[in-house]
Symmetry: C2
Subunit: 567 residues, 2 copies
């Protein structure tokens, strides 16, 4: 029984209409997107279609989101291209095999992270770093697609090189291709902005108008394919078209990577895994919260892991939960992953019988689809907000975005992660500490620098607002010594541990040495408000022995004691 997912066991007939509608609409979006993203990944179009069938079903069985649309997405496609282009010629059989293996490795990593409950690792990509990464990737993707719009051949490994190449190749522009690509681009941009309001004004209900506007790419695909077919523009005007796409369902095969391939692919696979997971979970979560549902990050790891393994088994490439299709799926009324399963079934139908329809589809239109899709990912709002709220966050966003554009996706994201870790290191090694005094007439104690409080002569009461461990223990010691140097009359140091949840072996060593050194100078070292678990472990140590009778339950008690014994 438990093998069936919960949503299927408790399925209600009332949900079927919504799931069916959403399944159909998402399929209409998915067809051009899966072809376009395969192009972006440097893969033959059928690989994009393969990645849009089994992965969806696998996620439906194991994932925790009711509305996430899994499949090929722009950023993972770009990352796939960036990982594989140094290893094999784009579109070659070897390249396709590597893409399949990349998907397999990423899937296994996701499953392993899920089994080890390592979902928390994804928290180490901060929002500004992710935002910067996505924005940088969007620029990279958009620039990379311009050659298809112009109908020229340009090889460039970075943005600058690509732009220079495009400028040089401008005289070779294929006019008809540019006309088709430019018209599609214009149509899609206008449709995104004005189609829904226009349809509403024509009497279409607002929600339906919104959904219909999302189908503009399919309209562009149909119209342009028809035009190219009608005038045979691929032969008469040199318009590049998709050509024959192999018909038939994907073969199930297992392509295990060898050790040297593993060595080449583990890092890109890890980055695709982390970025894909973070993106997918944030989309799934924002949709779930709208319906007061919950996403379980460890279930998501399993769901996405299964989806990637399924993709690898059926000849696809790395997939994850995508933003645009998920939002449409949700808005079109999807209640359960059945919507996805319906979509998968329709895609299977397309690939089994209808791939001939894509023969005259011009690449320029796919490129226009990609460009319009990714420009909506460029996120200046987060940058603006971060700039006002936290300059350091804004700078890490900018650095990551520029790193991606200038150095490529892997170096860019690694730079972002390094920046995040550096921030963590910096933060951890600078714990907040405050010398406190008593608020007159109360048992409350506050920072002497911020409040008018009473202190006891000869007593230095220091509150440290973080657990003590290797990264900050010496900082505490330095602070105490600096305060003592500043006020030589101190005869008693009180360390207030109300925020200390843990003292690791390094910090224990530092405190032990501090206590000994203070004792040798005739200064008493005392503690207050030590938490139960911390005290339990401290008791059996040398420091614990030496501090017997010098640990106060409350700061109040410690102050009273200091007043009584005087200097």
């Amino acid at each position: 029984m438990n093998l069936l997912p919960a949503w299927l066991r408790s399925y209600r007939p009332a949900w079927l209409a919504g799931d069916l509608t959403a399944g159909v609409i998402v399929t209409v979006m998915l067809i051009p997107q899966s072809l376009a993203y395969a192009l972006l990944a440097g893969l033959p179009p059928e690989v994009g279609l393969y990645a849009s069938i089994l992965p969806i079903v696998a996620y439906a069985l194991l994932g925790s989101s009711m509305t996430l649309a899994v499949g090929p997405v722009a950023v993972a496609s770009l990352m796939t291209a960036s990982a594989l282009q140094p290893l094999a010629a784009a579109g070659s059989a070897e390249y396709v095999t590597l893409a399949i293996q990349l998907s397999l490795i990423s899937g296994v990593m996701l499953l392993a992270f899920g089994a080890l409950r390592l979902g928390f690792l994804a928290h180490f990509l901060s929002h500004p770093v992710i935002s910067g990464f996505i924005t940088g990737s969007a620029v990279l993707i958009a620039v990379g697609q311009l050659k298809y719009i112009l109908g020229v051949k340009v090889a460039g490994s970075d943005v600058l090189e690509t732009l220079v190449g495009l400028a040089k190749a401008l005289p070779q522009t294929t006019p008809v291709t540019l006309a088709i690509g430019g018209a599609s681009l214009l149509f899609l941009l206008l449709a995104r902005r004005y189609l829904a309001p226009l349809l509403t004004r024509l009497g279409v209900p607002a929600k339906a108008a919104d959904l219909m506007a999302k189908l503009a790419p399919m309209a562009a695909v149909i119209v342009s394919t028809a035009v190219v077919w009608l005038f045979k523009l691929n032969e008469t005007a040199g318009v590049s078209v998709v050509g024959s796409v192999p018909q038939g369902l994907p073969q199930l095969t297992l392509a295990l990577p060898g050790v040297s391939t593993l060595g080449q692919l583990w890092l890109p696979a890890l980055l695709i895994t982390l970025i894909g997971f973070v993106e997918s979970v944030s989309v799934a979560q924002s949709l779930a919260l709208k319906r007061q549902q919950r996403i379980q990050p460890n279930r998501e790891l399993l769901g996405l892991g299964a989806a990637n393994v399924a993709s690898a088994l059926s000849g696809g490439y790395p997939v994850t939960g995508g933003f645009a299709r998920s939002v449409v799926n949700f808005a079109a009324g999807a209640h359960t992953p059945l919507a996805g399963v319906i979509s998968a079934a329709l895609m299977a139908l397309v690939i089994a019988a209808l791939t001939g329809l894509f023969y005259y589809l011009p690449y320029a239109v796919l490129a226009a689809t990609i460009i319009v899709a990714v420009t909506s990912l460029i996120d200046l709002k987060t940058l603006k907000e971060a700039w006002h709220y936290d300059r350091a966050d804004a700078l890490s966003l900018l650095a990551t975005a520029m790193g991606v554009v200038a150095l490529g996706v892997e170096a860019g994201i690694l730079m972002g992660v390094a920046l995040s870790l550096a921030a963590l290191v910096w933060r951890s090694s600078h714990p907040h500490m405050a010398v406190v005094g008593r608020v007159p007439g109360t048992e409350h104690f506050r920072n002497v620098e911020r409040h008018a409080v009473q202190t006891v002569p000869g007593l230095l009461a220091l509150r440290v607002d973080e657990s003590l461990f290797f990264a900050n223990a010496t900082v505490l010691e330095d602070r105490v010594e600096a305060l003592l140097a500043h006020d030589p009359s101190v005869r008693r140091v009180l360390l207030i541990c109300s925020a200390v949840n843990q003292i690791d072996a390094t910090a224990l060593g530092v405190l032990t040495q501090l206590e000994r050194s203070l004792a040798s100078r005739g200064i008493e070292f005392t503690l207050a408000e030590v938490k139960g678990p911390v005290m339990d472990r401290l008791r059996s140590t040398e420091l614990g022995q030496r501090l017997q009778g010098k640990v106060f339950l409350s700061v109040h008690e410690a102050f009273e004691h200091a007043v009584q014994v005087g200097n």
Copy 2:
């Protein structure tokens, strides 16, 4: 005026006797050690002598410790050998140049860290990791020296390979070499343990006896050199000796590394820099505290940086503050770095006129000196203590030690740092949180799981004991949602921010989304005890706007309000 160090400007004649004595005694230790550590580093003996002159003077001018003895040390010598052996043949001119450049790069890094006040970076090597690293290195060094004791040739890049090689080479043992090496080893081990008590029993004052025991290596050097010279054992019995050491003061030269050398040496240089700095500061600090002096980490960076640059300029290799010589320097009565300057002058004398004395010095004795010196670095006490206090720390110690022995010094220390960072990541992503209630009859609020406290129906009061940032914001959100799922009667969430010193852009985003999501479910989100600086920045954000009138000064106030408004 300020160009002279403070100790020199306020020098008192009364200090001179102590500084002179210490300077002489340290020199007698330094001569065999500098030769031995050069051997360990794979360098000709004179490089060890060069590294023992100018660096000491440079440190005396810029460092902050009064008693630190700077020069060649065991661990940095091992790290030098490990960094250079893949790049050039040990002892070759190219190898020597690389060692000089390594010292220069490390010196510049130290100076840069000092100028940028990056001393805090060294805190990221936790005590257990350092202890494990030193212990592993000591094993590696000791095993590596056995071939000199046996008088055989063995090439092995790791411990296992070396041991196997030694076992195979056993039949080729040079008996006289083994006799000299074994006798020295035995003498040094016995001297370390029993010489001081013996001398005390013979009427020598305890302190003098301790110091004299430290001169045992010099005694071994003199006696063995005399024996080899007398019987010309180098010719008659195949005993390897140091041979001719170039006489004359080192030439000042600047050997700048090229770009490709920089690429090869930056990582080993960084590791030598960090390890050397951490070791040196901890020795300097423990000695300074005994005399109630202070060490300034950023001054130490400058002092050690200058010492390494000076070493490079005068043909030496990476130096740092050593444990054994510093302790002897302190115990022999050194008051100021003048003791070091005297030592440097004596070393200059030795190299200018007396290197001929080392001709018959057998390598086996130097190896015995090294083995005895490093076995005292093997630190099982820290392991034992960590095992009882914090199992995770003990495991990271063991992992680092085994990493060094099995994989080498660089991989070992990198593993240790990675473990430390992983611990930091784990800790940061798991902030302590507690649902609190009121201690009856007071204005104090405590964890409901630990204390008998009163709660208000419909109010969830959650205290988070850490700043909120990218690594833990989602964890807080998950916790709130889990608590709400557990108690659907909650109508008001109170987040107690008494320990929140900062909310970064990621956490702000998460809180904003949480507030919106709660509001949509009719649950009010409120804050209490928000610190001034945090509130200042929050005020201008969307969340700050939405929370107007919902931020309470104290938890008490928030509870009173919740009781009054009821559900």
